[in-house]
Symmetry: C2
Subunit: 545 residues, 2 copies
């Protein structure tokens, strides 16, 4: 494997560890815990893993030094730092006993079920220290939900004499980790399951989890290129850049990037939903900013758009729901493709028809015509950044005709997602992930199951971070999923009364009118600590820093 100069130099980086995870580690247990809501139901569903105490690791005198074999699984989308979690796990169990073994299940949870795995030896591990990507063992989206999967997994667990499984994933994967932990505990199989909080989307966080890993690096990578685009916009002074950012269900990425780069506009899906805004309301707002800047002689700017925006617009949500029902009928499916738009128009309710009519023709026909294999509207195919800029352009034409806009509007479009999911982890993510891995190894060594590894106080220097574990049931509530009530980890959306959004909301008028661009530049690994070791703005604001 040929490596870049940075890869080589970065390979030698030794992640900083909290004092509590250095040397011998002692477990400090807190009081019993409760789930955040629906306590009776969650308790009934998780009799063996409910109510366990919070755990904190402290510097100790002695340690359980038995060799243990553990397995690790990467679940879902890539996030920077995943490899370092595995490196931390490896170093953690080897520190306990050099005869411990680490197995990696390949291409996600499916690897456990299908018995695809490799042993992760020092040679393998050392190739991947401080690297981005999930290519060490691959990832996958198979959901571990069924007993037959759990039993199939047990076969290979027994064969490899594995004591504990670590599942590195987002909210759903960690929910499933807890279901698996409960199942193995109920069956008294003696197999522990530990989770790790991963997702660039930043929507797996709560009282116990300060942030999900990868959010820091991904946002900094996006902010780098958005900053560069803003500098370009401010130099060329003739383009409006519409920039869509990954994140289907929460707008944390867009908001964090906005806090870092101070764009002219950032749409936050949660606010759109909360205020019941229509697409036309959003278009009005953006067109208003464009017109105001044009009046000042500034025919350029930047607009950040969260990937999931369209699904947060209540009117569009209702339209999509009706379309899904409408087009699922045998009658609708018998309509010839060329007549389908007319069919849709003649059958939609008046309100949804008005929404449908307000969309650009290409988007409307896509909504009416393109279905996924389950017959559903394919919202993810809609290029929201182009949809929005087209509607803004049309609005500006109308405003021009009314004499309310003088200027030129030349939009350009970008979508950033794949550019950041596998970036090499920032110092923060490299340290945080490594500590999560070591923390997970200590949870396993101490016989814990149904826990997620956590590291807190991460706005302080790394030595002062506090590692430990949180019972996964503690973060659960009951939610309707596919028509059924299920126990799930509560997803963290952007809080409109939270410090990050408030900081944005206080400044956005100024940022819209004036040109207040900040240029974060590329992630730095060496150099001044204020450059290399800063957290996200979101985390700093949430922690009152």
């Amino acid at each position: 494997m040929e490596k870049s100069a940075l890869q080589k130099a970065r390979g030698a980086y030794q992640p900083k560890l909290p004092v509590g995870l250095q040397g011998c580690v002692k477990v400090k247990e807190g009081a019993p815990t409760q789930s955040v809501a629906d306590q009776e139901q969650i308790k009934a569903l998780f009799p063996n893993t409910y109510g366990m105490p919070l755990i904190e690791f402290e510097k100790g005198e002695t340690m359980n030094n038995e060799a243990i074999n553990i397995g690790v699984i990467l679940s879902g989308g890539q996030a920077p730092g995943g490899h370092n979690v595995i490196c931390g796990l490896f170093d953690g169990v080897k520190r306990l006993n050099p005869n411990s073994k680490l197995y990696g299940f390949l291409m996600g949870p499916g690897g456990l079920v299908d018995h695809n795995y490799i042993e992760l030896t020092a040679d393998v591990i050392d190739e991947y220290r401080n690297t981005g990507g999930f290519d060490m063992i691959g990832s996958g989206r198979t959901k571990l939900e069924k007993e037959e999967q759990f039993e199939k997994g047990l076969e290979i667990i027994r064969k490899l004499d594995i004591k504990a499984i670590v599942i590195i994933g987002g909210d759903d994967s960690n929910t499933n980790a807890c279901v698996l932990a409960e199942y193995y505990a109920a069956k008294k199989y003696g197999v522990q399951v530990i989770g790790c909080p991963k997702t660039i989307d930043g929507d797996l966080k709560n009282e116990q989890i300060e942030t999900s890993f990868g959010f820091d690096t991904a946002c900094k990578t996006y902010a780098e290129v958005i900053g560069n685009i803003q500098r370009d916009a401010n130099s060329a002074r003739k383009y409006w850049h519409f920039i869509k950012l990954m994140g289907r269900s929460a707008s944390h990425i867009a908001l964090e990037c906005a806090l870092q780069v101070q764009p002219n506009v950032c749409i936050v899906s949660e606010e759109v939903e909360e205020k019941g805004m229509s697409l036309n309301d959003i278009v009005d707002y953006v067109a208003g900013v464009v017109a105001q800047r044009a009046a000042d002689g500034n025919n350029f700017g930047t607009v950040l758009i969260p990937e999931g925006l369209i699904e947060f617009v209540p009117a569009i949500k209702r339209l999509i729901a009706e379309l899904n029902d409408l087009l699922a009928t045998p009658e609708a499916q018998a309509v010839a493709r060329e007549n389908q738009i007319d069919y849709v128009k003649s059958h939609l309710s008046a309100e949804n028809l008005a929404t449908f009519a307000s969309l650009p023709a290409a988007v409307a026909s896509q909504l009416a015509l393109d279905r996924d294999p389950h017959g559903n509207v394919q919202v993810s195919l809609i290029e929201t950044e182009k949809l929005l800029s087209e509607m803004v352009g049309n609005r500006l034409k109308a405003m021009k005709a009314e004499g309310k806009y003088v200027g030129k509007f030349s939009p350009l479009h970008h979508f950033f997602g794949y550019e950041g999911r596998c970036a090499a982890p920032s110092n923060y993510d490299a340290d945080y992930c490594y500590a999560l891995g070591v923390s997970a190894s200590m949870l396993m060594a101490n016989g814990k199951t149904g826990y997620m590894a956590i590291v807190k106080n991460t706005t302080a220097p790394a030595a002062e971070w506090v590692a430990g574990g949180v019972p996964i049931t503690m973060m659960m509530n009951m939610e309707r999923r596919n028509g059924e009530m299920k126990p799930v980890i509560k997803k963290a959306l952007v809080q409109l009364d939270g410090a990050p959004f408030k900081k944005f909301a206080e400044n956005r008028e100024k940022w819209a009118r004036e040109t207040c661009y900040v240029y974060p530049g590329p992630i730095q690994y060496w150099g001044p600590t204020e450059v290399c070791d800063q957290t996200t703005k979101t985390l700093a604001l949430e922690q009152g820093k």
Copy 2:
């Protein structure tokens, strides 16, 4: 102006200077020069600026210490390091005499003609040290070509008592700088004109100019995100990423990125033209690589595509030429829009009709329908990356039907350009640009005109770099432009017998089949010198390093 932590820390960076530009500077003149071709014609057109010697700066004892006022102009597209050229100019003339003044003409060459300028004082300069963008004074695309522009410019030059103008631009802007130098020399106005080699495209280079500034930083920025995408491709193992890169007339950027990241496919426009490849030939090649990788179980990969590709495909070039002629006639312009495609089909020559028919419907209709204000086909609107992936997808379907392809083909698309043009300059570009600026100031102090500032030996440590000047006429030849023969600086396309392309060609089969991705990571400003101070692969290979 709020600044990021990196901006603040980077503001303090003192660019490294060649020994020859430190302290007092002595001029060493070489033998008289000749243009690279068409000597008689160039000499006749530039009687006052032809044949001048090459100049090299050496450490001297004394210096001309008169105060001089100079003006600077940024011309054309942004390139990282432009601000540092201006900072170098400023420090250079202030070192000569603190009473020297630097004026910046605003928004490009138009600022000289229209008398829009600001004085660049230390306060302004210090805000922009080592920053990306051209926002200090803006840039523009006005061409300085006409005597009335030259005379209009002279008015403000006289008013501000400016002795010399520095034009920072690409090949055309430097050609125009030389025309202006010749004009002022012929008129004995006593106003000098100096050029500086700028363009991220990398196509302004020759025996004297090792590289144009900005190429280094822009390519490294693109390579960072392409590397991240490759790591994602190799982790998710289910997408083919089609990545278009800026660069209309030359493929240096795509080739340099390929050398840095080792993608599965990189198309080089110059090779396409040289070999007379059709679009179908390119599609065959890419589809072949996809099929071969699929046979190995690898349904993922990366394809780099230079922005200007389509104009290098000889068949498309001929089609566009005929379309431009065909649709310019009054008869064609009278045809209703809905009948235009039929009109085109019934009037094209057989060969061009075949090419037209081979294009996806959307692209064909765009070629036939969308014209620029001059009535020309708008090639730049074509999304080459989508065109190519669509054609590859169709080819793969046909191959699947024939049993020649087993696999899944899920393409994703990216275009990188604006992400890199205004990135903060790498150490290389920061040093190179600063040295170019100081070099330009010394050319001015020594009464030179019609020169371009140059810095050579830049693969060595910066102290050993050699600064000087090259007569612009030396790089000229006669070329047909808009139907007229004109003296222009020869554009440097990718040489198929040059070391960079040969290195690529030797490896591409292996890179196509195997997964040899390299992940360059973000530009680093601090840290090990092998990480922070390396040049582009192109430059290193061209210099035999």
